[in-house]
Symmetry: C2
Subunit: 175 residues, 2 copies
């Protein structure tokens, strides 16, 4: 029987605020077999794509993203919140429920034409990932794929990532 990842995700009601069901990945990450299986499945579609860099979003995206980079023998590149990266950066804003936030990537992280896989742990509204896409495009990276462990289908983030088609291992159709 196929290994099921879903049972390793813990659902915590009313976090971070009332009415939200938080999908907690820490219960998957602490199980070595589940974590190894998640990395294997995230890597599988990209093994023959010549991925050179895995660009990962701070901070939960760093976890499986780093393991994915090693698995694909690609370099790891962080996209971080404002002011964290020490070198010269590109910046992109994205909108939140109230206001905006900023993510940054080192200007010299990518060489033009490098093949990139983007990764984060969870696709919600897609705001952060769409900003990360713009960062990669500004640096001349070629986006070969976008991967998530979890996708919250009901928040409809997927169209915001067009023309790219993300791959998510676990889907939640409703809250």
């Amino acid at each position: 029987m196929e290994f099921q990842l879903e049972p390793y995700i813990r659902s915590i009601p009313d976090f971070p605020k009332p009415g939200i069901v938080f999908r907690d990945v820490t219960t998957l990450l602490k199980d070595p077999s589940a974590m190894t299986e998640a990395v294997r499945r995230l890597a599988a579609p990209y093994r023959e794509k010549g991925i050179e860099k895995v660009v990962c979003i701070e901070s939960r995206g760093f976890i499986l993203g780093a393991a994915l980079a090693v698995e694909l023998h690609a370099g790891f590149i962080p996209v971080r919140k404002a002011g964290k990266l020490p070198g010269a950066v590109h910046r992109e804003e994205y909108s939140l429920e109230y206001g905006t936030d900023v993510v940054e990537m080192h200007q010299d992280a990518l060489r033009r034409g490098e093949k990139v896989l983007l990764h984060d742990d969870l696709l919600a509204t897609g705001g952060t990932m769409s900003a990360a896409i713009r960062l990669v495009e500004r640096s001349g990276g070629v986006i070969e794929g976008i991967s998530f462990l979890i996708e919250l289908d009901f928040l409809n983030g997927r169209p915001r990532l067009a023309p790219y088609t993300p791959i998510s291992l676990i889907h939640y159709a409703a809250e």
Copy 2:
């Protein structure tokens, strides 16, 4: 000739403030051979230690720590800043240059007696890691090792981690 990791670290003067030389690991992480070699060397002392969990400190500690967990076939456990973890947590304060900060770990992350390797990317004054040690001890974890990619010897953080003896791959004797 042995693979040298040091040349992959970039030194950035006056970040985050004048007089500080920031040791930037992103230039190592983006090189697949250097990253793989770093993970191999971080894992080497612990391969026969039966490590069950790698406890990693947000957020740069997540990167090599996650790859290390997969390499050792151990579970990954995050130590995070206040308010980020959705379940019931243990909290520990630690002192900063001005004031204090807090780190948290899920109360059910570890089982009593589990063998733990702690990881962060850089040992400076040791404040965050000493708080992480207390979190693991409160949960009954048995600390088998503490590893860092970089240690700033001149900040003298090592004695603060006693009775544990950390292993660091790269040392800077002076600023």
